[in-house]
């Protein structure tokens, strides 16, 4: 589903002493099937943005369009349920939302609320367990007996079981150990490709944005600050720093190498072993001096 924001503003608790404007005149388009990373420092409006994607919030001004669903200040889709079925949101720490006695019951809860027939859910359960790399032997266990990483996978399986066409991920790897982080991100990347999803990833990790996304939106003070292809966006050091963001570490490092040794070493998606090989070769030939 195509997603578009047209001049969207959002104010929390308007006309109260707590009034707070979180989004200002925000416009962008996400074509169906893209993997978009939304990046910005804390409080830049990222979480407010994604709550518009499944109609938890409606713009105070402007217009949000998600497929055929339209949200404005005075207009909400007739069928909000259909929107929410199509847009699966994995919130921060989704495992805090687990509640049922068994993993299976917890996963069923979402789709059965959306009136998906039981036999269809039966069919989806092994598929989503496989997608999140959990064994079906776990279905009868209590989700609360599982490890943190496993609990998160169960919560994600519950979202996938609704068979959404848009998946919104709000810091999906926070709190996981490095191995768990990589596994979860690889899993979403694979799902994105296999199922042709539109994926919106909110992240603080420039590395993940660089590695997985095909488009990046940088938020600052509630509005769009930069947008484009990750490699292009992430090479603009000064502009990013003005929004209190750093370059991905590898690009930062390449910059410093170039400055120190007066050589050219552009970022082209090289892996660490590739970079090491390139470096040792270059340093033998470089004639830099300070």
């Amino acid at each position: 589903m195509d997603i578009s924001f047209k001049n969207v503003s959002y104010t929390y608790q308007p006309n109260t002493p707590f009034e707070h404007r979180a989004l200002t005149d925000l416009s962008f388009t996400i074509p169906s099937g893209s993997f978009v990373a939304v990046v910005g420092h804390t409080g830049s409006g990222k979480s407010t943005l994604i709550q518009h994607l499944n109609g938890l919030l409606r713009p105070t001004a402007g217009e949000v369009q998600i497929g055929e669903f339209k949200l404005t200040a005075n207009e909400k889709p007739k069928d909000m349920k259909a929107l929410r079925k199509n847009v699966g949101v994995v919130f921060q720490y989704p495992e805090h939302q687990l509640f049922d006695e068994t993993v299976e019951k917890d996963i069923r809860f979402g789709p059965s609320n959306f009136d998906v027939p039981d036999n269809e859910i039966d069919k989806r359960i092994p598929e989503v367990m496989d997608a999140v790399h959990l064994s079906t032997a776990m279905l009868e266990r209590s989700p609360f007996d599982l490890s943190g990483g496993q609990m998160r996978r169960v919560a994600i399986a519950g979202v996938l079981a609704m068979d959404p066409s848009v998946v919104v991920l709000d810091e999906p790897t926070a709190g996981l150990d490095p191995k768990g982080q990589k596994q979860i991100m690889d899993m979403f990347h694979q799902l994105h490709k296999e199922k042709g999803l539109t994926t919106v990833l909110v992240t603080h990790s420039m590395e993940d944005a660089l590695h997985y996304a095909d488009h990046v939106i940088i938020m600052d003070h509630g509005t769009k600050y930069m947008e484009g292809n990750p490699t292009e966006v992430f090479t603009q050091k000064e502009k990013l720093q003005a929004a209190q963001l750093d370059l991905p570490e590898i690009i930062q490092f390449l910059r410093k190498i170039e400055e120190t040794f007066h050589i050219s070493l552009p970022y082209k998606g090289q892996t660490i072993p590739e970079l090491a090989a390139e470096l040792s070769l270059l340093l033998k030939g470089a004639d830099g001096y300070e």
Binding site: Q92, G175, K179, D246, F253, K284
Partner: protein
């Protein structure tokens, strides 16, 4: 070992007799005025260690000594006075209706005099860049802002030990760096100990000492440089090392290019420069 502010002596813990041990014969010492990072895979027992330190849980076997006191039902109130702790999820620890009131809470509990309280609230909120939000409602802040406020609450009471249990997980990398710098400055100025439980690989580089937990046991206790040389086995136990350390190890794989394990980009570039000038 004797200068330790916190000491674990052969501590084991499990929630009940039918359940497996969460911690198994754990011993270590957190010295005064040091930064100790605790890392480990999810479920390795890191957070249990934090909860044992201020008596939210008690050891099943072994003992824990905080500033000369053995942690027990009788001593917890004394122990907790000296320990400031920030958890992963700040939502669970807000009490005030405004950011300012929330930071004031800990100070009121300790009977800090009003003038002093006002000054400390301002200093600590400024330290975490949240002074502008002093009249906001804590539960309406973003995840990262909440964490900042929770950290301000701990800084305000100036404890002897600050424990951050993945307290910066929701911050952006820059914010995380700033907060850790702030907390570390406070540690220097006041000569206190800092314990950070973390998955952030770059944070470890700044610690004096790293405790690596695996399956409820202390797997390694070493300084960051030593830890980063164990890339392969760390990855086997669900962990990883930072970009700089990985690149350095890769560079040294075939031929010794770097003489010293670098902790940051500057040290790595310096090492490359030394190598280059000898060519």
């Amino acid at each position: 070992m004797k200068d330790g502010y916190i000491e674990f002596r052969n501590v084991s813990f499990r929630y009940s007799e039918e359940q497996p041990w969460v911690l198994n014969n754990v011993s270590f010492c957190i010295p005064v005025n040091q930064w100790v990072a605790i890392i480990g895979h999810n479920g390795s027992g890191k957070s249990t260690i934090a909860k044992l330190m201020n008596g939210l849980l008690f050891p099943v076997e072994g003992e824990i000594i905080v500033n000369g006191l053995t942690v027990s039902e009788e001593t917890i109130w004394e122990v907790r006075k000296s320990i400031g702790m920030v958890f992963q999820n700040p939502d669970n620890q807000f009490v005030g209706t405004t950011v300012r009131d929330d930071v004031a809470f800990g100070l009121e509990n300790r009977g800090v005099e009003r003038q002093e309280m006002i000054a400390r609230i301002k200093n600590s909120l400024q330290a975490v860049s949240m002074w502008d939000y002093q009249l906001h409602e804590p539960h309406r802040l973003s995840g990262g802002q909440k964490q900042r406020v929770a950290i301000a609450g701990v800084l305000a009471v100036s404890p002897q030990v600050i424990i951050l249990d993945e307290a910066t997980a929701m911050l952006d990398p820059k914010g995380r760096k700033e907060i850790m710098q702030t907390v570390n400055n406070v540690r220097h100025q006041q000569g206190i100990s800092l314990i950070s439980i973390t998955h952030d690989l770059n944070e470890i580089t700044q610690a004096d000492q790293v405790i690596v937990m695996n399956k409820g046991e202390v797997w390694l206790e070493a300084n960051p440089r030593e830890v980063f040389q164990k890339e392969k086995i760390l990855q086997e136990i669900g962990l990883d090392i930072p970009f700089v350390a990985k690149l350095a190890n890769e560079l040294n794989k075939d031929q010794m290019i770097l003489q010293k394990q670098p902790l940051n980009q500057e040290e790595l570039i310096e090492g490359l420069w030394t190598y280059h000038s000898k060519m």
